[in-house]
């Protein structure tokens, strides 16, 4: 069974800090009206994005949803182009035509992100089918929240993926809230792994704030999918530290006490764990965090310097 080592752990920490600083900066820039549109931040959910995407290759397919920044960054998307996209600039990943909920970076395997909850799930099956028809070892990974599980296309897709034994890994980030409503108000089935149990696919519910658990479980899942043993579902219990979107007053839930969050924060947990394991010392981590913070600042400057797209881009890309 593959286990995390010092190098991989440092890689995860770097990615998680990159996401954390990116997201927090995006939150500020949204309030300053420099970043536009509906913004869904993944602060607190970084371990899932990092643990999963760090193990994928560029020719694997990744599909994300409306909370896509972390997945894009973990997949390897350049953060300056991601930031430019959120600002609607021409040097954005999608030339400023996509926006926060629609980040795509085909070079790094990010084949789509959708603002329609669960709409990405069947598309991942299509990329998995293409991988199999090409006799490749590629897999498709689709991220979605627990809110998508109550949608018809989720159930259609689980059925079809198991029927066809497709190389697709369903990664559910179960943060306990579907938009503003706790899971208990939407369904009688608490665990997503129980929802899919009758289909018999390999499934596991793990602590999604434990980067080590995410990385190690996903490593096993990935090996199984690459070996052609059919689809799998990884349910990561996690916690969205911010509201559903930026500006959401989040009256529907109690804020986490600061000390409780210290215990849950996936980044601090991995740091404590790594120091205990002797993988690194605290100073290494501090240096790495500062580097990422600076990289995010540089991304902001890059994005600010990029012009808005020319008006003649309207309609220009309607058809290929």
């Amino acid at each position: 069974m593959p286990s995390l080592d010092s190098e991989a752990a440092l890689g995860l920490l770097r990615t998680m800090w990159r996401i954390r600083h990116f997201e927090e900066r995006v939150g500020q820039l949204k309030r300053a009206d420099e970043v536009h549109g509906l913004i869904h931040l993944s602060v607190g959910q970084e371990a899932v994005a990092a643990g999963v995407c760090s193990q994928l290759q560029g020719d694997d397919a990744i599909y994300s949803g409306h909370r896509a920044h972390g997945h894009a960054i973990a997949a390897g998307a350049p953060i300056e182009r991601a930031m430019a996209e959120l600002m609607g600039r021409v040097d954005g990943l999608c030339k400023g035509l996509g926006g926060s909920m629609h980040l795509v970076d085909t070079e790094h395997g990010l084949m789509g992100a959708t603002g329609v909850v669960g709409g990405n799930i069947p598309m991942a099956l299509g990329s998995a089918l293409a991988a199999r028809m090409g006799d490749g070892k590629q897999v498709a990974v689709v991220f979605f929240g627990d809110g998508a599980v109550q949608a018809g296309h989720f159930n259609e897709s689980i059925n079809l993926a198991t029927l066809w034994e497709l190389p697709v890994i369903f990664v559910c980030e179960n943060n306990g809230f579907a938009e503003f409503t706790p899971r208990s108000a939407h369904t009688r089935v608490e665990r997503v792994t129980d929802v899919v149990a009758p289909y018999g696919l390999t499934r596991e519910t793990i602590d999604g704030n434990d980067a080590v658990a995410v990385w190690e479980t996903f490593a096993r899942f990935l090996a199984s999918a690459r070996a052609g043993r059919g689809p799998l579902l990884l349910e990561c219990l996690t916690h969205r530290l911010r509201g559903h979107y930026e500006g959401d007053p989040a009256h529907y839930r109690k804020a986490l006490e600061a000390k409780d969050w210290q215990a849950k924060d996936p980044i601090l947990r991995l740091q404590r764990h790594g120091v205990e394991e002797g993988w690194f010392v605290e100073d290494d981590v501090k240096a790495l965090e500062l580097e990422e913070q600076k990289a995010v600042e540089a991304a902001v400057e890059f994005a600010r310097a990029s012009p808005f797209p020319p008006a003649d881009l309207i309609g220009d890309l309607t058809y290929a």
Binding site: V116, G126, A140, G315
Partner: protein, 322 residues
């Protein structure tokens, strides 16, 4: 060689599958040929790895096609009745149609969604609709609607080769009509209309099954000394407006006929585009022929009365010449 429309559809798919190993078919019962035989024999020739039967899951089926197309394949996805496109609209409208633009040009979705519409078989209001105008409203989708076997073959070849999502709307009442079609039918480009019958007094633009009805109407009108020009756009998006405007420039009168409900039907779009481009050429208001604003009725005499045909088209033309 005389073949049916449905045979032309099958053969165009088979030829595309022979020419390109990335072309595959998926849908409900496609390996068995489907209720009309629109995929008959494909599983036998290409195997069930390329002719994929699916559960009754329109959203997932269409989503699989979108993802497969984005990953380099050329899926032909069959939605058995256009009425069931309602279940797949997220994939078609929100995903397939927008992927290229929203990704700044990174993604392409070269899929063909084959489906069929139309009334006439006493199948009631949920298996008889003509919903094509909905899809013409979506930037990023192309919409093709052939009326003849040769065009079905030639346009399907073009649709499969197109780098964009193309909705290919067949008509259930046309499937078993036999026509002369060359053994290898010529490719028909997407976006080109056909003047089916030349005429000088009135232009009739007719879609799908109503092309034949327009020809019947034109023969009747000829008996009364009125020469109607019949145009089949064949593609709704992109529309070949030039061919229609050129004709109206000669005839100065226009009837638009389709089986869909008149209200909000594609005829409204054609009429708006023609009056904008050729207002001074028109000697009379544009007439539209289509179904009344009602669900398709089941009872045979009512369904027959509901569906527009040659009689309504001829009457509309005579109104313009009165």
């Amino acid at each position: 060689m005389k073949i049916t429309y449905v045979k032309a559809v099958v053969e165009a798919q088979a030829q595309a599958m022979r020419d390109d190993s990335g072309v595959f078919v998926l849908g409900e019962d496609v390996a068995e040929g489907g209720p009309y035989g629109t995929t008959a024999g494909l599983a036998e020739e290409f195997g069930t790895d390329r002719v994929l039967n699916t559960p009754i899951s329109e959203s997932a089926i269409c989503g699989v096609a979108v993802g497969a197309a984005q990953s380099g394949l050329r899926p032909i996805v069959e939605v058995m009745f256009i009425d069931f496109v309602t279940l797949a609209l997220d994939q078609l409208v929100n995903q397939a149609a927008k992927a290229h633009a929203m990704s700044g040009g990174q993604l392409r979705v070269p899929l063909v969604l084959r489906t069929q519409g139309g009334a006439g078989r006493r199948w009631g209001a949920q298996h008889s609709q003509s919903l094509e105008s909905w899809l013409t409203h979506i930037p990023g989708l192309k919409v093709v609607m052939p009326s003849r076997a040769a065009d079905a073959a030639g346009l399907l070849a073009s649709a499969i080769a197109d780098p964009n999502p193309v909705v290919f709307v067949e008509n259930k009442m046309l499937y078993f009509k036999s026509e002369d079609v060359p053994k290898r039918p010529p490719v028909v480009p997407v976006g080109r209309a056909l003047v089916v019958r030349p005429g000088s007094d009135v232009t009739i633009v007719a879609l799908s099954r109503l092309v034949d009805e327009a020809l019947v109407a034109a023969e009747r009108l000829a008996g009364e000394g009125i020469e109607a020009e019949v145009i089949d756009p064949r593609t709704l998006v992109p529309l070949d407006l030039d061919t229609i405007v050129e004709s109206v420039g000669r005839t100065h009168r226009l009837v638009i006929a389709h089986e869909a409900v008149v209200h909000g039907g594609f005829g409204a779009e054609i009429a708006a585009q023609v009056q904008a481009a050729a207002f001074d050429d028109l000697d009379a208001p544009i007439e539209r022929v289509g179904a009344p604003f009602s669900p398709v009725p089941f009872s045979p005499p009512l369904e027959d009365a509901y569906v527009p045909g040659a009689e309504e088209i001829a009457a509309a033309a005579k109104t313009l010449l009165a």
